[in-house]
Symmetry: C2
Subunit: 380 residues, 2 copies
Amino acid sequence: MATLKEVADSAGVPMLTAFQALNQHDTVDEVTRRCVQEAADNLNYTLKITQIDIADLAGVAKGTVSYALNNSELIKPATRQKVLEAAQMLGYHLNISARNLRMNRTGVVGYSWHVADDPSRMNNLLDRFIYRVTMAAEERSFHLLTFVQPQKNADRVYESLISTSRVDGFIISDVTYNDPRIARLTAMRAPFAAFGGMYLENADFAYVDVDGKKGIRLVMDHLLEQGHERIGLLGWPSGWPFGDAREASYREAMRDAGVRIENDWIAYTHNILDSAAMAAQQIMNSKYPPTALVCANDLMAFGAKSYLDSVNLRIPDDVALTGYDDDPTAQFLGITSVHQPIDELAEALFEILLGDINQEPLPNRQIIFNPELVIRRSTR
Amino acid sequence: MATLKEVADSAGVPMLTAFQALNQHDTVDEVTRRCVQEAADNLNYTLKITQIDIADLAGVAKGTVSYALNNSELIKPATRQKVLEAAQMLGYHLNISARNLRMNRTGVVGYSWHVADDPSRMNNLLDRFIYRVTMAAEERSFHLLTFVQPQKNADRVYESLISTSRVDGFIISDVTYNDPRIARLTAMRAPFAAFGGMYLENADFAYVDVDGKKGIRLVMDHLLEQGHERIGLLGWPSGWPFGDAREASYREAMRDAGVRIENDWIAYTHNILDSAAMAAQQIMNSKYPPTALVCANDLMAFGAKSYLDSVNLRIPDDVALTGYDDDPTAQFLGITSVHQPIDELAEALFEILLGDINQEPLPNRQIIFNPELVIRRSTR
DNA sequence: CACTATTTTTGAGACGTCTCAAAAAAAGAT
DNA sequence: ATCTTTTTTTGAGACGTCTCAAAAATAGTG
C-alpha cells in the first residue's frame, strides 16, 4: 500500500495537509479534502500512521524514527526532538503486533484466574493478588492476559498460549504436588513464576510464598498462650501444599504443647460457606468440643461463625475463632486472622518473572515472606 | 535467517532428521546430531517451525500451507491432509504475532477488572460476569486482557490499548452518566459493549443489561404483599445509573402502595461491609423504624444482617431483609435476593461485541434481561 | 483428442517494526 | 588543510502470516 507522503504528493499538497484532509479536519477546505481523498482512493490508501510517515514528515530515515522513539542513545537530541514532534503532529501510535513479530515477544503475561466449573470461587486473597500483579506488570509496560483453565489437562492450555507466542510467560497460583503445568512449562523452558511452592520438595522453579506453617504457628501460640488446649482445625481436603502445611503446623504446635488431638477436632471442607458451617458443627459435636477453632482461611471462619452464632455459642467466650488471609470479611466480623503481604509479594513475583523472560534471571528466584497475626475480638 | 530445509540440505540429511537432531531427539545418533548442529550454527539458524518448513516438508507452496491450516475450501482434502501431517510431525504452532500483524487484529478483548486504589472491591457478581465473558471469548478463539484503570482519565488507557492494536475491542462495566470512556471509544469508532446502560438516556451503544427497576419491583411487591409498609432502603450514593434506577423503583413502588417514605428510611453506602452495617443502624434508629430493609446488593445485606443480629433484631420476624445479585453470601445467609442471568448475559454481550469487531454488527445490539426473585428465609 | 471451464496450487508481496552493517557527517588531531 | 576517530544517520532486510492474481492441474465437453 501507498504511504501518506505518496498520497500527498499525488494530490499536490503538503503531508500535513493530506493528513488533516483524510482526518476530515475542518482546517482544510472542502475542495482540497475531496482532492486528497481521491488521491488516496486511487492509491488504495487508508490512513494509518506508521514510522515511515513520521520519517517522511521529519525528513529522516525510518530507522532513525525507530531509534528516536525508543530513546536510543545513538540519536542526536535535536533529531529526536524533530521526530517526536512529527509523531505528535500525526498522532502516531506504535503498532504492537509489528513490534511483537519483530522482537519475538509480546509484553503479555498469562494468568489463569478461573478454573472452569469450579464452584468454590470466592477468593478475596487471590483477587487482591491479581490486582497487584496487574499493577506491577503495567508499571513495567506489560499486560495481563487472564484465561480459564480446564480441570483436566490444564497444561495444554498453557502450552498453547506460550507456543503460539500469545504470552511471554505465566503467573501461576494454586500449585499442586507434581503440578503438570510446572512440569510442562519447565520442559518447554517457558518463563513462569508461582505464588506458592516453599512446601514442595525439590521446588526447582521461581516462586514467592508466605510461610504458611509460620502463620498457623502464630495463631496456635496465640491461642495456647490464652490457655486453650482443646483446639479444632477446619482445613482443606489434603492435596494442596499450602493446606497440608497449615495442618502440619497445627499438629506440630499441639504436639509441642503436649496436647493430644482428638480425631473429630479436625474437619475438612472446600471453600464453600455451607460446607464450612457444617464442618464446624461436626467439630463442635465432638465428645470433647474444642474451645477454639482454627480455620484455614477467612471464608471458613465466616462459615464457622455463622454456625456458632446459630447455636448461640459466644465468640470468644465459648469458642475462640481464627481465620487466615485477613480479608474484608474477617475484618468486618472481627475475626482474628493472618495477614499475608500480598502487595510486596506480587511485586516481587513479577520482578522475578520479568528477569526470567528477559533471560536475565534474578539471583534470588525464590522468596519467602513472613505472615503477620492480626488479633481481633474473636480471640480476646 | 535460514530455513530448516536449508540446514538439512547443508548437513546432507532429510528434513525430519535435521528436525529431530536439533530437538536432541535420541532417535538420531550423536554424530548426525553434531553435524546438523554445526550446519545450523553456520547458517545462524535457531529452530523455529514456520509454515515455510511445513511447506518444504509436505512439498507444497507456503501459501498452500496457510490455506490448509485455516481449513480453506480451496484446498483439496488430500493436500490438506498432507499439510496437517507435516505440521504434526514438526510440532508446528502458529505465530499469533505474525497473524495479528498481517490481519490487523489481535483476537484480544480488554476488560478493566480493577480500578486503581478502589477499596470497595468485593464483587462476586462481576467476578462471575468476567468468568463467563472469558469463557465466551475463548470459545470464539478470543482472549481477555485485564487491565487496571485509574480513577481519573481512564479513557486514555482505553485509547492507548486500542490505538496500539493491543486489543480489538472492550467489555465495559460500571457505566456512569456521560461516561468519558464511552465518549472516547465512540469517537474513535472502537468496538465495545457494555454491561449496563438501559437507564441511560440516549444510550447509543451496544449493551446488555438486567432490568434493575423490575428487580427491585419484584422485591417490593413481595414485601408489600406480606403486609410490610415501613420499608427502608440501603442504596449507593447517587451517580451510578443502576443504583439510581433501583432507588427510583423503590420510590415508585412505595408511591404506588400509597406509603409515604420517611427521610431516614433511606441511607447510602459504598460496597463496604462496615459502612453498610452503620447505614443499617442509622435506618433502624428512625423514629418509625422500618419492618423491612431492602438492600441494593447482597454485600450490603450482609452488612445489615450483621448489625441486626448484633442488636438482636430477628430476621424476618422483627425486620425482613433483602439483597440483590444472589451471590454466595446471600445464599448462605438465607437472604432473599434477586438473581441476574449473568451466564446468558455474558454470552450475549460477547456476541454483540464480536459482531462489532468483525464489522458485521448484530441486528439487536441492546439486550435487556429479566431479573428473578429468589425468596429465602429472610422474608418469610 | 482438442478445447474450454473449473478446481487447485503457486509465489510474490505486504503488514509495521527493529537492528545490522555500511555510509555520511561531525569532531578531533596533526 | 588533511587525515583519523567518533558520532550519527541510513537503508535494507527479516520477523511469520495471509491473500491476491496468475499459473498449473484437473475435469468436462463435443
